[in-house]
């Protein structure tokens, strides 16, 4: 019996199938992306705010909220992207200048917001992510299902709390500051300057435990679940909690 031989340029039947499937997959991805961009809606608003005392509150249902400091010190700029049948976005400003953005109904909305760096912000989302960068005002971030990432902060007060997800904080620790980072079932990571001056209260009831070795601290209390300790003069207050995850203290690079 004589076998048919294939020339070097010829394709094996399995390779033909592979190429066909790849082309099909690419077409599907492109078609989906085009369909999404065709149905996506955008929202943008700008609010003038008094310099130095601006306040922003965002209540989102699903999606990402990104807030960063902008060059403009007297304006809050909000832009959002959402699918056509998504919920309604309501953005208002009260007599004191506080801006409130609220999503009513369901559907994913992704926000990108720039604020004056000294703004106080209060963010809530049910599902998605919260990302805050380079602010110096008070920050309150709360998400039920998703991660919170806070970096480049010089804030006197930070409260970040998620139920199912990770919390990561990287920033300065001001002497009279208060920093509370909590997650029911995720990791809590705090990246602090080497010379940070703080009193720590950490509680981790999950199997992940606590990794606090990055700082040489004076321990007032230490069990395998609770730690109360100080670094420096112990001026700022840091509270870290997780029920099922882990707590990790790092030196900021």
């Amino acid at each position: 019996m004589v076998k048919e031989s294939l020339a070097p340029g010829d394709l094996l039947p399995s390779k033909i199938t592979e190429k066909f499937l790849s082309a099909l997959a690419i077409s599907f991805v492109v078609a989906t992306a085009l369909a999404y961009s065709a149905s996506a809606q955008t929202f943008s608003r700008a609010f003038p705010v008094p310099p130095g005392t601006s306040e922003l509150e965002v209540v989102n249902q699903t999606g990402t909220i990104k807030v960063t400091s902008g060059a403009n010190t007297s304006r809050i700029l909000i832009s959002a992207r959402y699918s056509e049948n998504a919920a309604k976005i309501d953005a208002t400003q009260n007599a004191q200048g506080k801006v409130k953005v609220e999503v009513i109904g369901q559907g994913a909305v992704d926000f990108e917001i720039t604020v004056p760096s000294s703004s106080d912000i209060d963010l809530l989302s049910y599902k998605g992510a919260i990302v805050v960068t380079n602010l110096a005002g008070a920050v309150r971030a709360r998400i039920t299902d998703g991660n919170i990432q806070i970096s480049g902060l010089r804030s006197p007060r930070v409260e970040a709390h998620c139920t199912q997800g990770n919390v990561s904080f990287s920033g300065e620790v001001l002497p009279s500051g208060s920093y509370t980072l909590k997650s029911f079932s995720g990791r809590v990571d705090a990246y602090l300057p080497t010379n940070a001056d703080f009193k720590l209260s950490a509680a981790s009831f999950g199997p992940g435990g606590m990794n606090l070795g990055a700082f040489q601290m004076r321990y007032d209390k230490q069990t395998h679940q609770l730690v109360e300790a100080s670094h420096g003069a112990g001026r700022a207050s840091i509270i870290l909690w997780t029920q099922e995850g882990s707590i990790n203290l790092h030196r900021k690079p």
Partner: protein, 228 residues
């Protein structure tokens, strides 16, 4: 003032804050009591019952109780809306009992109330006896293990009641996720309870309970803010 009027007002009179009777009535009852040993005796007896009732332990009913009550109410509403019909055997002892009208004096009512309260307490104690593992667990759940726990529970119940009224309108997936999260917290709380029951001074688990209650309140606050 006559004995009958005094007897009718005694319960309100014994209330520490006399919302329901005027100062004049209080003075009249005071005068009557100083001159009427029978009414004075009755007042003392009612006072003792009231004091005893105040010292009875509070029991948080199991969650399933509300479901049972709701079922009874629904059944009654359905019965009211249903077309009227004659009971099959209205002439039996039950029919006779229903056709009778009973009137009781205040002391009879008080005594009856005390017996009913005692039976209820005995019943609850029997249900939550240490012979039943599952129900012993319920007892552990209802005990207060933190000094501020009663206030926390009242607040959480208030918030939960408000949510329960509109939970049926939520997206089913969200509702399931919400229930799952609350159950997870409750599981952790119950574990703490069991440990604290054996060692009430365990500071680590007291702190854990406080964090868990804060988490629970936080989830309820979120739902309110999200306007579900």
């Amino acid at each position: 003032m006559e004995c009958r009027a005094v007897i009718n007002s005694l319960s309100d009179y014994l209330d520490s804050q006399n919302f329901w009777i005027s100062d004049d009535e209080v003075k009249q009852i005071d005068t009557h009591l100083t001159n009427c040993p029978a009414c004075q005796n009755l007042k003392d007896e009612l006072g003792e019952i009231k004091t005893a009732a105040r010292e009875l332990p509070l029991h948080t009913p199991p969650r399933a109780m509300w479901t049972k009550i709701a079922n009874v109410i629904e059944a009654e509403i359905s019965a009211e809306n249903a077309p009227p019909h004659q009971p099959k055997n209205a002439s039996g002892w039950w029919g006779w009992l229903r056709s009778r009208k009973f009137t009781f004096s205040l002391p009879q009512l008080a005594a009856g109330g005390a017996v009913a309260a005692a039976l209820i307490i005995a019943g609850i104690s029997g249900i939550l006896s240490p012979h039943s593992g599952a129900l012993d667990f319920q007892k552990a759940q209802s005990a207060l293990l933190l000094p501020e726990e009663r206030e926390i529970k009242v607040e959480l119940d208030r918030r939960m009641d408000a949510l329960n009224a509109r939970k049926a309108t939520w997206d089913p997936q969200r509702r399931a996720e919400f229930e799952q999260r609350m159950n997870k917290i409750d599981e952790s709380l119950n574990q703490c309870r069991h440990i604290l029951k054996d060692n009430p001074q365990d500071a680590d688990h007291q702190k854990e309970m406080r964090y868990l209650y804060v988490e629970k309140r936080q989830i309820l606050e979120d739902v309110e803010r999200l306007k579900w």
